[in-house]
Amino acid sequence: MRPSRRWNGALALTAAVVTTSPALGYEGSTTLAGLTEQAAMSSRLHRRVVERFALSLGIFEPLQLDPVQLSEDRARNLFVRLRALDAGQGHAPELLPRKTGQNLAALRQHVLGWLAAGAVLETHPALRVRHHFVDGKTGRGLRRQPGVTAMAASADSVEQGISTVRQLLSGAAMDGTGLAAPDWIESPDNDLGLSTFVDAYERAVTAETATARETALVEVLLSAGAMLAVLEQTGDPAYVHNDLGAVLAGPFAHQVAERYGRAGVPAPDAKLQPDPPQRFRELLFDGKGGGLAERTASRFLSVGSITRAAVPTGTKLIGSGGYLSTPTLKHWLAWAERPALVEGGRAPAALFLDDRCFADYASVLLPEVGKFAQVGLDFLLRGDLRLSLTSDSALQVKLLDEQLGSGTLTVLGEKASGERQVLKSVSTLPSRPGVLGSVPLGEEALKDLVRLVVLWKGRDHHNQPLLTSAQLGLRKAEAAPTVTPAPEAATE
């Protein structure tokens, strides 16, 4: 029987409709993951995971996320979102065989993959993107256009797929507003934000079992990746011009995804040196023009932010069309003559962004975004320590780079079984790079231990919270003990 035209149409609609999804700014699976990977490769992440966590393969070391170590809600939430990731891009974790009695199987991925996965999770569910906006001039988050009610914005968000009908019914749909991106990073409601990062980092060092520490380290990487993704989104002009329409329509982000994919994203701009931030949020917006959002907003336009005011005063547009350019962008803004409505009259030229503009924007923006992400990742893991054991079994802690305020140094011992226990906890005084202090342990305390680990928790010299850690394999240290001066700054 020959199928009717209606059936043909219906089947085509369900099975083979040609679509492009509206982007959510830079696409998570490709652009954000690629930017994050490039930033990580240019950062000190590899050396830090080797030195702090004794992961010999560094960013290629496989780590396991064991759902048993998490609360049931958190485990299920992460599991569902992680299992949705695109396995072809390299950040989807591997599903391990489920053990007896386990509701959810463990997931495995390498360090770099977890970091990139975190960047993708930041856009999933889509509702999270409401908090990725930051106005490049004012620092404010997403706000509704004048005349748009919360109800209308909520209904639109359902139609656009950002919110679900259930969220609409429960009043949780996106109402056209959101936290400013820097606030979202620090918000306690953000399950992949700074608070999760700090909490997980502490557990990644101090948890008793190796499995618990490994799972916590995965959470650290997911949170770091997610925060980098929020930072990277401020390198999309739509997010810094309060242009939700452009974020959803995504012509720029779509072109970037098609042109660069994940693996083609350029490396960070080595020449660019962003101001060293005192807080992570300053990389997005510092109020002085140095944040990525401010830099993006001051030099780039989004589709919905083009007005006559964007064209500098006195500009004469000659001919029937062309481009305005800047020293760094050949195609900054396109314009074309429009037919006059009245004979002999002159209609204002149409201003728009086309594919050439988008290509130029991407070629300038992506390396810059990557550099900010690299600086952000290095900032999150700042404060390197180095440990050595003196001949009288005292643990000397040396501070490499960051000035520290006061804090607490916790020394843990690790047994061959992987179990860790606290040996000592001491307060430390503000310190400059150099010797932070020395903790006498005694030979008896080191017996049966294969590793010493320290966690320093306190505030940096800008009074910002900081956690850092270091570890020392004891067999190697015993073979080559280091003679060190007397304790300096540590007070028990």
Binding site: A15, V17, T20, S29, G88, A155, E159, K316, S325
Partner: protein, 278 residues
Amino acid sequence: MSRSAQDGSSAQRNFVRDGRFVDETRETGRAGRNPRKRARPSGLYRGCIGRLGVLGLGLLLLGGLAGCLGPVAKAPYARRLGSGLMGSLLGPFDGQVIDQSTGSPLASALVVGTWAFQETGGMATPESSYTETVVTGSDGSYALPSLPTGRQFAGLLRRFTLIVYKAGFVGYRSDLRFDDRSPRHDFVQRGNMVRLDRFPQGESHVRHLVFLGGGPVLRGAAQAEIIQASLELQETAPQLAEEQPAPPSPATTAPPTEPVMNPAAPLAPAGVSLREGS
């Protein structure tokens, strides 16, 4: 699977407008909406639920006929080289893997095909993915089946990625080239020819592994290269503070020049050249 579902290209062409992909589902939804209902929540809820219910039932019924597949995006590759026909993301895929330098077929190369789905709500958020893995035969040929019809797949089938890996060679991705990271335009669905270059001396294993991506099977096959990459990073990764060489003297360091656009500054009369603020 029905003919329509299998032959994605014939159906897909119906939905290309003005050279751009069209989200038919969204357009359909908009066309039938009465804007006045937005101001009346109860009506809107009923409308949404009613429409979603009917749409869901329709999708359920049609899903059975169409192998439980949702919408499928346009494939960015041709069916065959020079055929002029658009390929299908659904598959099947076949081709041959050869050594670029000798032209001889490469047996036992790993071929990984991944179908990635995104949410159908219209947002580019990941929904799920499905992977098939095969190994090339003695003649270097591979054949990946179509996306299986017996499985439940939700969301928009957004992309298909083919990765070919053989130790000692530069890997292949269907979307990008390794040498310049530019988009690949020579991938075809059927009769695809994969020419692998020998892994050049001095080429970065880190860059290569990150380029490849791929899932656990590929990571397993590339285990030796992972170790090489981590050794490479021990030498090339940025140093920690103590190990960093002394910074150059200020006299030799040029200050960073990052011009900031000043929209208030007047343009040159030529019109198309724009200058930035100081």
